[in-house]
């Protein structure tokens, strides 16, 4: 079963981290990702830029309307996601628990089973203007 693990936290809390704190957290998360990858269970992983960089296209009208900002003002924001292959829901919860230990900033992980998944093509990680690659991991 493929699960999406959606990472929610207050982006302005994460935004107060120094570069060193951010790097340290990413390094802890990277350990978990490497293990999952070596087990052949890790799908795409993404860390999203702050919601202030977002635009939202609202469907329904004659002409879709594009607005600035995220689709909803929420206390916690979607900061990133993982796709992980798990035998059972329990395994997915275990992964989320591990992520919690690596990144104890208050927030939630929403564990959602995936219905349809197309791997697409292997897009170039450099396309996110992130040449280092290692920093494009979700919190």
């Amino acid at each position: 079963m493929l699960y999406a693990i959606l990472c929610y936290a207050q982006e302005d809390v994460v935004g107060t981290w120094s570069q060193a704190e951010d790097d340290a957290c990413m390094a802890r998360l990277a350990v978990i990702q490497e293990r999952l990858a070596s087990e052949g269970r890790l799908g795409p992983v993404a860390r999203l830029l702050p919601t202030t960089a977002a635009t939202t296209l609202r469907k329904g009208g004659a002409e879709p309307l594009i607005m600035d900002g995220p689709f909803a003002e929420t206390k916690e924001q979607l900061l990133g996601f993982y796709l992980v292959d798990c035998d059972a829901l329990e395994d997915a919860h275990d992964v989320a628990r591990e992520l919690t230990e690596a990144n104890p900033v208050p927030g939630c992980y929403e564990i959602r089973p995936v219905g349809i998944f197309h791997a697409g093509v292997a897009v170039d990680p450099k396309a996110v203007a992130d040449m280092a690659g290692a920093r494009s991991q979700p919190g």
């Binding site: 302005d12 994460v14 900033v105 208050p106 996110v128 203007a129």
Partner: protein, 424 residues
């Protein structure tokens, strides 16, 4: 990360909202600060066991307000304090509070808090110090370090600034659209001042001042969340992100500045650039160009160039020409001349620069840039004169060293020429 680290981060992120609401409530900066401090102390006792509240800002506002009211009552020896543990039963009150304080209230509160710090009677340095203390919550010690003064002097500076504001009165009316736009403009300028205070540092000042850039970017994002559809807010945030993205490539090991064209672009911070570019794109959709957006668009062209040679100087010239129209200034024209020299040659650039001599005669960059154009045109003696003027006006060792490099090159060229002249 331990308990204290996430609690600290939560305080820092909740602070602007909480301080802004407490300032509206108490109408006095000192009382609001004390109330916030009290709330943080209680949070430190409560949160590690009970976990964080769902809305930390609302919790801190409510607890801070109660604590300050208790203090007033205690001073008046009126009612008995409620037992401490009652504070943990905030669930209902907290959610009610949260509902009342929706984004629109926060928006005017935060704008007022920031606007208070950029009171026109305060000199720029006091505005910056106050914003860092009140809004960002930096300690007086940290701010003093950034300004290279001792703690006591900074404490006095902040106290004086607060006194001035108290005397002038804080505007508590809800601003109309025109006033709100005006205040927003002043607040943006103040945030950019904070940023530049950090960005302009060199040598040993870099380390204590760099946090100011991060604080300014945080304030920019905060403002953007409050005003999500204001293109100039996007422009300022983008400008700061795109400039700060270069920070680890801007100085050599000795703390001397490395010019944009010589920087190792692999050391630029890519996520920061991605965020800045995204904001520039968002802002351009509004088709309401402004000074910050144009400067951000220029920075974006530098960020998009994989090497200095690939910079789109013609487009940068176009953007500077637009900037000249919106904010005419000899400094903007001087910057445009640099783009013109790259796109169309030093001859054209020099004609753009020559008329600026009267207004920019006391400006280091003017003589430095003019000297560089003259040097490119082979007018070495005039170039030397310009560089000597520049050195006399240099504000830092790094600036002087950069010009000295040019002079040395002219010198060695002259020596080579003498050596290659055949003896009679």
């Amino acid at each position: 990360m331990n308990d204290l680290a996430w609690i600290d981060a939560t305080f820092a992120s909740a602070r602007p909202k909480a301080m802004a609401a407490l300032l509206r409530y108490f109408r006095d900066l000192d009382t609001a600060e004390e109330a916030f401090q009290d709330a943080c102390l209680r949070a430190l006792r409560m949160w590690p066991d009970k976990g964080p509240p769902r809305d930390p800002a609302a919790w801190l506002i409510l607890v801070g307000r109660n604590a300050a009211l208790d203090r007033t009552r205690r001073l008046k020896r009126e009612t008995v304090l409620p037992p401490e543990d009652q504070l943990s039963e905030l669930g209902d009150a907290e959610s009610e509070m949260t509902e009342r304080l929706d984004q629109a209230d926060y928006r005017d509160d935060i704008l007022r808090l920031l606007f208070t710090c950029c009171h026109p009677e305060l000199p720029a340095t006091q505005q910056i110090a106050l914003a860092l203390r009140i809004v960002s919550g930096l300690s007086v010690k940290q701010i003093a370090r950034a300004f290279l003064v001792n703690e006591k002097a900074m404490e006095q500076r902040i106290t004086r600034a607060k006194a001035r504001i108290a005397a002038a009165g804080i505007p508590f009316d809800t601003p109309g659209p025109v006033e709100r736009a005006e205040r927003l403009g002043l607040v943006l300028a103040m945030i950019y001042l904070v940023f530049n205070e950090g960005y302009s540092a060199s040598g040993e000042e870099i380390e204590p001042r760099q946090p100011l850039c991060n604080e300014a970017i945080r304030l920019g994002r905060l403002l953007l969340r409050m005003f999500p559809a204001e293109p100039e807010v996007m422009g300022l945030a983008a400008l700061m992100l795109l400039q700060h993205a270069r920070s680890s490539a801007r100085f050599d090991a000795g703390g001397d500045i490395i010019l944009l064209e010589d920087q190792d672009r692999a050391r630029w911070n890519r996520p920061m650039i991605a965020e800045g570019l995204a904001l520039v794109d968002k802002a351009l959709r509004h088709r309401r160009p402004g000074a910050y957006q144009l400067q951000a668009a220029i920075a974006a062209l530098h960020a998009r160039a994989t090497s200095a040679d690939e910079t789109d100087w013609r487009q940068i010239d176009v953007l500077y020409a637009m900037l000249e129209q919106i904010t005419p200034s000899p400094v903007v024209t001087l910057n445009r001349a640099v783009a013109v020299s790259k796109a169309y040659g030093a001859e054209t650039a020099l004609t753009l620069v020559e008329p600026l001599g009267t207004s920019l005669d006391g400006y280091f960059n003017f003589h430095g840039v003019r000297g560089a154009f003259l040097m490119q045109l082979g007018r070495n003696s005039a170039a030397r004169d310009a560089f000597n003027r520049a050195i006399a006006l240099a504000r830092s060792g790094a600036e002087a060293a950069h010009i000295r490099g040019h002079l040395d090159r002219l010198e060695s060229e002259a020596v080579r020429q003498v050596e290659t002249v055949p003896s009679p």
